[in-house]
Amino acid sequence: MTTTATTATTASTATTTTLGRALNEGLRQAMRDDERVVLLGEDIASLGGVFRVTDGLAAEFGDRVVDTPLAESGIVGTAIGLALRGYRPVCEIQFDGFVYPAFDQIVSQLAKLRARSRGLLRLPVTIRIPVGGGIGAVEHHSESNEAYFCHTAGLRVVACGHPQDAYDMLRAAIACDDPVIFYEPKRRYWDRAEVDLGRPVDGDTLGRARILREGADATVVAYGPAVAVALGVAEVAATEGRSLEVLDLRSLSPLDTTELCRSASKTGRVVVVHEAPVNVGLGAEIAATVMEHCFYDLEAPVERVGGYNIPYPPARAEGDYLPDLDRVLDAVDRVCAP
């Protein structure tokens, strides 16, 4: 296989579509642009994946879309081998809770092989993981496990929060020469927005946080499925006369410390929101980082709103578990208390 030239970007590529569809288009475009992009996963070919993110790709790309045997360690392990052969594998893990059988291949192999080989090996592997709760699923289907991978040196970890980022970040992840854990907020797959499908690949979308809403009184930091919650909170707070800044991290590891601390220093008050358990979660790193860099600007301790330190509950109780408007507003009240 040889790499074909990047398809030219055309003028009118904006369209209204869902986050899931934007990912599908991102994969399609990446596969058209580079024949070395191959997809591995369970039920991704004829079925198009349980969330249909790979819909139609097997029809267009044939054996470059592989329905694998049912074995996640095998998926990541063989993806590593393919990468060593010069391919750019994109793996789909069917649900967040099924990535653990692949943990060793991710942590000891994928993340470390470059350092282990003194920089001689490249591992351009993307691992797509539908993440988080809120869809009434059964156990193991609502996990938020980003902290494990953020704590693992040698990986880049990102989470998209809305359709345009889904497209842009996925393309950047596939183009990245380093392994990327790519989180897709599963309860936002059906969110619709205007998306420009002609944007060129921009590595920056992979590392930069983004202010989605400017504000003066406090910063709400969120990522993935919690971004929409944070925006909702800012809406409500505005009606109460409180001006919240909303920061979408996008990159979970490394953190965009510059943008994070700029906002924290500006408002002096920070609330972090994520679905994963708070205990030793990414929120802890954000709190510690903000304290380290903005100690003298902080008016209140950083508040963390997230999952409790218990296994994800049965679906009919998940409303109480997930950080929602009320819990985040309550935390905003706390950081803003004089």
Partner: protein, 365 residues
């Protein structure tokens, strides 16, 4: 058979697949001899198990469609594999199921409520494994096979004579855990039987993409005893399981039974099988229905009359009604319970977190 289809019905398979009753309801007396004393009572019981199991599954499916369940994984078509195997066990033989063993669970006395709770989102696992000698469902594929082996090691330590049986699927067989379990059992000679319901599909992935040789051969390669059975023939399943379980109980090597059956519905209520498989395949398998052939056998032998069939049908309706009623009455889960059930001894940290949650929740009342 095209490479992209599930397994063909056992009829089209090699002779080494045990079958006692064919789709026309004819009992192969010669094959049964020595294996099984086929009595009216035995066959009636298995027939009843299957009919009730099927009716229950159908009712659960409807409940999902009505929004009462979040998800349902249908057992339609796999009644013989489940009833035949579970009935071959002693009540104290420990079972480690996967997640589709509803018929087996009902046979063990687990109630509709207990079975539906998980799929309604009211719990992750609701029955007491100790009471029914039947572990809660495992959704992470093949993990339960190792639990089963460990449990069997414990049985051996205790010098007890019960046997462990674990269910898993053709898809789950590809997981590293499944192979580790087969090997571990062989090395330790643990008193365990692996029961694979090979229903041809793992969601949209046909068995032909899952392995290159029959799973029974893999098991032999690990040093287990292994047999293949027509998984839609309840008597064959019963006979094969009983023979293997009794052999294991008396110190024989652990074993594996590969039961060739078919998932007649989609993978779950979220699945659309039309996207990946032919209707023709389903039609082929419908001719091999596990329930129908037993009805024919019972009738042919005069082991059951219309009255009997009517009683079973009405028992099934009663079960369905009970299932509906109990499902809707299932209590809502509470996060406080998850807090309390996370550890045996609630830590101070957890208690504080729980109380914080409870106070916050109450503040909205």
């Amino acid at each position: 058979m095209s490479p992209d289809s599930g397994a063909a019905p056992a009829a089209a398979r090699a002779d080494d697949v045990l079958r006692l009753v064919d789709p026309a309801g004819t009992l192969n007396e010669r094959a049964a001899e020595g294996m099984l004393d086929v009595t009216g009572e035995l066959v009636r019981g298995l027939y009843r198990d299957m009919v009730l199991g099927r009716r229950f599954d159908q009712e659960a499916y409807s409940l999902q469609r009505q929004g009462e369940l979040g998800l349902w994984l249908m057992s339609l078509g796999q009644e013989a594999a489940q009833a035949g195997s579970i009935r071959a066990l002693r009540a104290d033989d420990r079972v480690f199921p996967s997640y589709r063993e509803h018929v087996a669970a009902l046979c063990r006395g687990i109630s509709p409520t207990e079975l539906l709770s998980q799929w309604r989102g009211a719990s992750h696992g609701s029955w007491d494994p100790e009471r029914y000698h039947f572990h809660i469902y495992s959704l992470v594929l093949a993990t339960q096979t190792l639990h089963a082996v460990g449990y069997a090691m414990g049985v051996r330590y205790d010098a007890a004579d019960s046997v462990v049986l674990t269910y898993f699927g053709d898809g789950a067989s590809s997981q590293g855990d499944a192979s580790e379990a087969l090997n571990w059992a062989a090395v330790t000679s643990a008193p365990i039987v692996f029961f694979c319901q090979n229903n041809g599909w793992a969601i949209s992935t046909p068995a032909s993409k899952q392995y290159a040789r029959p799973l029974s051969e893999r098991a032999k390669g690990f040093g287990l005893d292994a047999v293949s059975v027509d998984g839609n023939d309840v008597l064959a399943v019963y006979a094969a399981t009983r023979a293997m379980v009794e052999r294991v109980r008396t110190g024989g090597a652990p074993g594996l039974i590969e039961a060739h059956t078919y998932r007649m519905s989609g993978h779950s209520t979220s699945d659309d099988p039309k996207r990946y498989r032919d209707h023709a395949e389903l039609a082929r398998w419908e001719a091999h229905d596990p329930v129908e052939r037993v009805r024919l056998l019972l009738t042919a032998r005069g082991w059951a009359d219309e009255d009997y069939f009517a009683t079973v049908a009405s028992d099934a309706e009663e079960l369905a009604a009970r299932t509906r009623g109990e499902c809707r009455a299932l209590p809502e889960p509470s996060l406080s319970d998850t807090f309390r059930n996370t550890l045996c001894q609630e830590t101070e940290a957890l208690r504080r977190e729980r109380e914080g949650f409870e106070m916050f929740k109450e503040s909205f009342l």
